[in-house]
């Protein structure tokens, strides 16, 4: 399908924050999803569902622009993401399976680097406060290699508390996070969608503090049909 035609289709809904038209993804000669069209507006929380291997991570990576779909286009505010790379990346926060935390750097250095790279400057006390939000008080100066898997994830999730991005794409954000941590993350998602952002996530846990009607679901079950 030509990009122009896709653009005109996507333009039907002016308010869509991120949309995808006719996405097809093939991995290892297996069709994961076919002609998937998605529209995500400000204030949406979207849960991508499906069994293991159904293409949840592939879909999130494609939406973030990390992977190329076999077919189809992704739009940020009705513009192709490849044409608005800088603006799109400024408004995107993607956290994948891997935490992106360097073992050789301290918790504070890791967070500081990640924030600065994404254009957010903070002084040391603000960084400390942000780490306190994710229960890492006292670990600011510990090398990340000395911390647990859950704490690694907390370092990368700490970015959410300071993010100015509209679009949050989170791949299994609750992995290795304790119950209290999950609760506070859900509160954070609520505040974020209230402010006009959107959250796209995969999780095998239920979102406890959201009513089912609040959550939009994308179910990937192409393999099972």
């Amino acid at each position: 399908m030509s990009a122009n035609l896709a653009a005109s289709l996507a333009a039907k809904n002016e308010s869509a924050l991120i949309s995808a038209s006719n996405l097809t993804c093939i991995r290892e000669e297996r069709l994961l999803f076919d002609q998937l069209t998605i529209e995500i507006n400000a204030g949406d929380i979207v849960q991508v569902e499906g069994p293991n291997g159904s293409g949840k991570t592939s879909l999130l990576r494609i939406l973030a622009g990390l992977s190329q779909p076999y077919e189809g286009d992704i739009f940020y505010k009705n513009q192709l993401i490849t044409q608005t790379r800088e603006e799109f990346h400024q408004n995107l926060l993607y956290l994948g399976h891997l935490s992106g935390v360097k073992g050789e750097m301290t918790a504070q250095e890791n967070l500081n680097f990640n924030l600065t790279l994404h254009g957010l400057h903070m002084n040391a006390s603000e960084i400390e406060k942000t780490l306190a939000e994710v229960n890492l008080t006292g670990f600011e100066d510990s090398l990340a290699s000395h911390l647990s898997a859950g704490q690694h994830r907390r370092i990368s999730l700490a970015r959410l508390y300071k993010s100015t991005a509209d679009i949050w794409i989170l791949d299994e954000p609750f992995t290795a996070i304790d119950k209290q941590g999950v609760y506070s993350l859900e509160q954070l998602f609520k505040a974020h969608i209230k402010q006009g952002g959107c959250v796209i996530l995969t999780t095998h846990q239920d979102l406890l503090t959201f009513s089912p009607s609040q959550i939009k679901k994308i179910t990937l079950d192409y393999l099972i049909e």
Binding site: A64, L98, S99, V101, K102, E104, M105, G119
Partner: protein, 229 residues
């Protein structure tokens, strides 16, 4: 907290500082390639014998081949650990231009592996009875040539970073690209030993340096996008 567009300079400095911090805390990255370089060079006099004439004849080749191999040994670190812990994809998803990020990482790699080689090379040249007139040429070729090794090598690493056992493939990809540097560098040192001007060879290495400096970050950026796909 403030939101600001970082200047290219600030982004470059940020990534450079990060990579150097990591290297300083993970000293193997600096010591291993250097130790490899020293050991390879010192093995030659032991194997060939102490005749100064033979050694001084082959010294430029030995030093340069050892420099190539030790750079190759260290190349893997350039993107591999960032790829395996996910920080590479975070960098690619940042609003900063990829070529600046890549250039900063390559410069950090050269400072960690190339610069120590240059500092220790004169010492090893003494060991190999390198002709006294050649020292200037040796340092000059290393100064211009080792950045080329890092710049061209980065393309190979970026292409193979997603492959589990890419080591052999990396050397197959990268070593042929190193041949021009090797030829002109050793030729410059040989020419200097005869007391002749070697500016022609230096000019060619300089051209290789500037060519790869301007083009390689873009190639690396494109290769990384393919590798993280």
């Amino acid at each position: 907290m403030s939101i600001a567009n970082l200047s290219y300079h600030a982004v470059f400095y940020l990534v450079l500082k990060r990579d150097l911090t990591i290297a300083m805390r993970h000293k193997d990255d600096i010591i291993n390639p250097l130790l490899f370089f020293v050991i390879v060079v010192t093995l030659f006099p032991l194997g060939i014998g102490p005749e100064s004439q033979i050694l001084s004849r082959i010294a430029p080749g030995i030093i340069w081949v050892a420099a190539l191999l030790s750079t190759l040994l260290s190349l893997d670190r350039l993107f591999k650990s960032d790829h395996s812990d996910g920080s590479l994809e975070q960098m690619l998803l940042s609003p900063q231009p990829v070529f600046i990020l890549v250039l900063a990482k390559i410069v950090a790699h050269w400072l960690i592996t190339g610069l120590p080689l240059i500092l220790i090379a004169p010492l090893l040249a003494v060991l190999l009875h390198l002709n006294e007139q050649s020292y200037g040429a040796l340092i000059l070729t290393l100064l211009l040539g080792t950045p080329v090794l890092s710049l061209l090598g980065a393309i190979g690493v970026a292409l193979t970073v997603g492959i589990k056992k890419g080591g052999v493939l990396l050397s197959l990809l990268v070593l042929p690209l190193y041949i021009p540097v090797l030829i002109f560098a050793t030729s410059a040192i040989d020419t200097a030993a005869l007391g002749l001007p070697y500016s022609g060879q230096i000019a060619i290495i300089a051209a290789l340096f500037f060519g790869s400096l301007t083009l390689s970050p873009f190639a690396v950026g494109a290769a990384l996008k393919v590798s993280t796909n």
